[in-house]
């Protein structure tokens, strides 16, 4: 009898890029649909196509992951285009994450954009940015890394400024673009210095050259690595290139904030993990582990303390997302070579859980914006009596972000900190744990406002936006289910992270 399902290992090699291709083709298809008939808006069709496309990408990535494509069991990573791209377990893990967040954001945007004329552009920009992220996760050469980074960034600038009649949105877009352009140039210059010192752009070759010692050019390589790290600090919204994040997240349409703070940040980490672990040996003239330790501690502390002083929920979430970048940086800060895969994997698992809980939280803000209630904590007072289901979901996100035990965020943080302790950096875990305990303060303010405070005035909530609700509830269910289901996630993450460690 013929096998009903095709086996993943019977596909041609280029098919390993299918998760990224699905996103790119969907983006093109959306433009095509719009250009065939630019006058009618067809919201359901466009949102449907975008959703199906991102879900297809998620399905493909999940299928490849479970079939072992690019993992040790089937012959290791699949290198394409002269080794410029490599599809391995880590790339697929991150692609699944990007596709999930994209799907949530696309579904949620259906209601958020309900009276906006340029829907097709919005969806295609989201999908192109997601394509860039998917490529960032697979980049095996510094040149591809740069191009993928730009592919992810350029649509993001446009998305942040998408509400072009809203001064805040436009201003946010401009700030994001200026800092983005600056850090891109720093990044590109760093790449050129690394190339000058090593004579290659391919990460494994760079690694070989740097471990062999680059006579007289160690300083050049070191400065290059430092500048490359700066490029990642921008994309992951880490100190010292974090200034854009609160502005951009606050001014952008909330679904875009969700997209940037979850998927785009994770993409920065995907690239940083691969470039540093695969490309730069620990003794490459600069102790980049120490660099990331400093960045991690400063980023998480600064993000948390700044979040605690905010009065607006969206801005608080923006700073909290800087704090979480600090936690995720532990993956590199506690990296110790051979056994570093475990802490790297813990960091990846944290980014996945974070992808759901943080996206959900921003989508709740989108819901509030959609209803036209204010932006501050006080404006959310008593909302639970009008929107109990969404309020339950938001409480789940907040408690999970704070790392309370009954939710997914507890395990992901726990494994991250334990990974740091296992690697010998118990002080890093201690700083993380203290920050995490402090974060409960500002996360619980949202919960308090929603449930405990009485409404100041009457809410004039319009209709119930079904799609937005569905996305929020789905994210909440995923956040809860990631507690009992954390086993496969962390095991996959740690096993695929271990394989990239040279």
């Amino acid at each position: 009898m013929e096998p009903v399902l095709m086996q993943a290992d019977q596909l041609p090699e280029w098919a390993a890029l299918a998760p990224a291709l699905a996103l790119a083709l969907t983006g093109l298809l959306l433009i095509l649909i719009d250009s065939v008939d630019p006058d009618s808006s067809r919201p359901a069709l466009l949102a449907g196509v975008a959703t199906v496309g991102s879900l297809a990408s998620l399905g493909l990535a999940g299928w490849f992951l479970s079939a072992g494509t690019g993992q040790a069991g089937t012959g290791g990573g699949i290198a394409l285009f002269g080794d410029a791209l490599v599809v391995d377990g880590m790339a697929l893990f991150f692609q699944a994450l990007f596709a999930s967040v994209t799907a949530l954001v696309v579904v949620a945007s259906y209601d958020y954009l309900s009276d906006h004329p340029h829907r097709a552009e919005f969806y295609s920009l989201v999908l192109f940015a997601a394509t860039g992220m998917a490529l960032m996760a697979a980049a095996n050469s510094l040149a591809v890394a740069f191009i993928a980074l730009e592919l992810a960034s350029l649509p993001s600038y446009a998305l942040v400024a998408f509400l072009k009649r809203d001064a805040g949105s436009v201003e946010a877009g401009l700030k994001y673009f200026l800092i983005g352009a600056l850090s891109s140039s720093v990044f590109a210059f760093g790449i050129s210095l690394v190339y000058a010192a090593t004579g290659s752009l391919l990460l494994p070759d760079v690694y070989a050259a740097l471990s062999g010692g680059v006579e007289g050019l160690t300083g050049v390589a070191a400065v290059g690595i430092l500048m490359v790290a700066g490029g990642f600090a921008f994309k992951t919204a880490s100190v010292p290139f974090h200034f854009w994040a609160p502005e951009a997240y606050e001014g952008a349409p909330a679904p875009v904030s969700a997209f940037l703070s979850s998927a785009s940040k994770a993409a920065g980490f995907a690239l940083a993990f691969r470039v540093f672990v695969v490309g730069f040996p620990l003794d490459a003239g600069i102790d980049w582990v120490l660099l990331f330790q400093v960045l991690a501690v400063v980023t998480m502390t600064l993000g948390n303390f700044a979040a605690a002083t905010q009065e607006e929920v969206k801005r608080m979430l923006a700073y909290s997302s800087i704090g979480h970048a600090g936690y995720a940086l532990i993956g590199l800060a506690a990296f110790t070579g051979g056994a570093g895969g475990d802490v790297l994997g813990a960091s990846m698992a944290h980014l996945l859980v974070y992808g759901f809980m943080n996206t959900g939280a921003f989508l709740f803000v989108a819901l509030a914006e959609n209803w036209g209630i204010g932006r501050t904590f006080d404006d959310y007072a008593g909302l639970s009596s009008r929107a109990p289901m969404a309020s339950v979901a938001m409480s789940v996100f907040m408690f999970s972000l704070a790392g309370l035990p009954p939710f997914g965020g507890f395990f992901s943080k726990y494994f991250l900190f334990m990974g740091a302790i296992d690697a010998g950096f118990w002080w890093l875990a201690a700083v993380g744990a203290i920050n995490s305990a402090l974060s409960l303060f500002y996360y619980s303010r949202v919960v308090k406002a929603l449930w405990l405070n009485d409404a100041v005035g009457d809410f004039e909530l319009g209709s119930t936006p079904t799609a937005l609700y569905a996305a929020i509830v789905f994210a909440a269910v995923a956040t809860v289910l990631l507690l009992p289901g954390f086993g496969p996630v962390i095991e996959t993450a740690q096993s695929v992270a271990t394989t990239i460690v040279p």
């Binding site: 475990d342 009954p406 308090k448 405990l452 009992p484 086993g487 962390i490």
Partner: protein, 510 residues
């Protein structure tokens, strides 16, 4: 499988009730909450464990499944009961059902959310008392906080926000301290899982290694202190008790019932399981034992004195809980069969009696809308049945023979008196006995003022009889209290069986 069914059904019931219309939520929640009651009674009837679950005893209704395996440690779904946990499981299910009924009158808004959260809390409480894997236990332990926070914060009295946040902050910080203390132990043990039995046995086999310059004995002492501090907040003992009166006074009656009846027992249960079972060599150091016994006696006396000074009936019962929990601590540190056994029995007995008292005060409040001693007198005239049960409960609190409180306190006193662990045990025991006198004092005083004499009441509300469904739970609780007082062996036999190994380790005797 029955424990999974019990927890699963309760979670499911919470979900169903949460989605039910407000009008039927109370009745539906009560009907569904009878399922875990039946289940827990069935567990009691078929109970066949022997010994202590943590110390190689046989575990009843045990399930052990791998959940996660990371970094060399297995996290498991590992549940089961022994003679210590089963009485508390039964207490949780029975008290939850009765608390739900007692909520029918006072809770008049957002009912489906209220009853859903009550059931959600019950499910997590069942998890706390049955989990035998540290992580699983910790998840349930923390998950109890979340519904409690909302139950106080949304349905509470005028200062509910302050009380809810104080409760949340106190107990959360306490959990963090305890967590760190416990982790410091586990990571220096040659264990492969977070199973509590494995950890206990490894600790008692002396397999603990030092940690960053601390020798094992010091590490044990530090971990003991961290865990004691964490659990002491939950119990609570003086001086970390200040969240309790605030939480109790602001919480609606049914929530107070759960808080006093079951949530406080989480603290004493955890103390027994972790501190006193895992680290007996630390607890029996003369200095440590003296400090803990002193904390116990101070809680007993000071808690009772505070109760004496209150005008609010609910505050009186709340502070007297601090006093009663002091007896539990005294019984635990005695390390005799009767001491620890009596302490465990007191957990159940106090759960029933304090539940009864809070409910009775709640019934009076529903009718009079005041709880101040000075505002009313002669209530016996208008509410004879309620007042009769309240008086019976108060006598149970004072330790009237043939009621559960008497049995528990008698065991504790006799056990503590004979203790070889507490230095000058008779002295501490005698001092704590004065607590009884003060309890009798404030209860009699308050009752005499409010219940007897000429009827008068300063209120704008019309005073009517209490509903049948308000009084029925009181009667059920009273019957349970008397049953346990007449036949303590309903639970005491299995308790003794389970604590025997704990006592044997230190040679504490009966």
């Amino acid at each position: 499988m029955i424990i999974e069914a019990l927890i699963g059904v309760t979670f499911l019931a919470a979900l169903v009730v949460m989605l039910a219309p407000d009008k039927y939520a109370g009745k539906l929640a009560f009907a569904l909450s009878l399922l875990p009651v039946v289940g827990s009674l069935y567990m009691w009837a078929g109970f066949d464990a022997g010994g202590n679950a943590l110390m190689a005893g046989s575990i009843a209704y045990e399930t052990q499944l791998d959940w996660l395996t990371v970094a060399g440690y297995d996290l498991q779904w590992f549940v089961g009961v022994d003679g210590i946990s089963l009485p508390l499981v039964v207490l949780s299910t029975v008290l939850s059902s009765l608390a739900i009924v007692s909520a029918w009158t006072p809770i008049d808004m957002r009912q489906s959310q209220f009853y859903g959260l009550m059931l959600f809390m019950e499910a997590n409480l069942l998890g706390v008392f049955t989990a035998l894997d540290f992580f699983l236990w910790f998840v349930f332990w923390e998950a109890v906080l979340v519904p409690m926070y909302f139950l106080i914060g949304v349905w509470g009295g005028p200062r509910r926000k302050y009380a809810a946040i104080k409760f949340f902050v106190y107990t959360n910080i306490a959990s963090l301290v305890m967590f760190i203390g416990f982790m410091a132990l586990v990571f220096n043990l040659p264990v492969s899982s977070f199973g509590l039995p494995e950890i206990t046995q490894s600790l008692q086999a002396g397999e603990l290694s030092g940690f960053v310059g601390l020798d094992p004995a010091t590490l044990k002492l530090a971990a003991f202190a961290a865990m004691f501090a964490g659990f002491a907040v939950k119990v609570p003992v003086v001086p970390v008790h200040t969240w309790l009166p605030d939480a109790h006074v602001e919480a609606p009656t049914p929530v107070s019932v759960m808080l006093a009846g079951v949530l406080l027992k989480m603290g004493t249960y955890a103390l027994l399981r972790f501190n006193f079972t895992m680290l007996p060599d630390v607890a029996t150091r003369p200095l440590v034992a003296t400090v803990i016994a002193a904390i116990a006696v101070v809680s007993v006396i000071y808690g009772a004195m505070l109760a004496l000074a209150q005008q609010d009936l609910k505050r009186i019962v709340a502070y007297s809980s601090v006093s009663s929990m002091g007896y539990v601590i005294l019984g635990l540190i005695a390390y005799t069969g009767l001491g620890i056994g009596g302490a465990t029995f007191q957990m159940v007995a106090h759960g029933l009696i304090s539940g009864l008292m809070f409910m009775a005060v709640g019934v009076i409040y529903n009718v009079t809308h005041t709880r101040m001693v000075g505002d009313m007198s002669g209530m016996a005239d208008r509410m004879p049945v309620t007042v009769g049960i309240l008086i019976a409960g108060a006598f149970g609190y004072m330790g009237l023979p043939l009621m559960a409180g008497f049995a528990a306190e008698y065991f504790i006193f006799q056990g503590a008196f004979a203790s070889t662990v507490i230095p000058s045990a008779p002295l501490f025991t005698a001092a704590s006995m004065f607590g009884i006198v003060i309890v009798a004092g404030y209860l009699l005083f308050a009752m005499q003022r409010t219940l007897f004499g000429e009827f008068s009441l300063e209120t704008d509300y019309e005073v009517r009889r209490a509903h049948f469904h308000d009084v029925a739970p009181l009667a059920v609780l009273l019957l349970c209290t008397i049953a346990l007082g007449v036949a303590p062996n309903i639970f005491f036999e299995m308790i003794t069986d389970a604590i025997e190994p704990v006592v044997a380790v230190v040679g504490g005797g009966a």
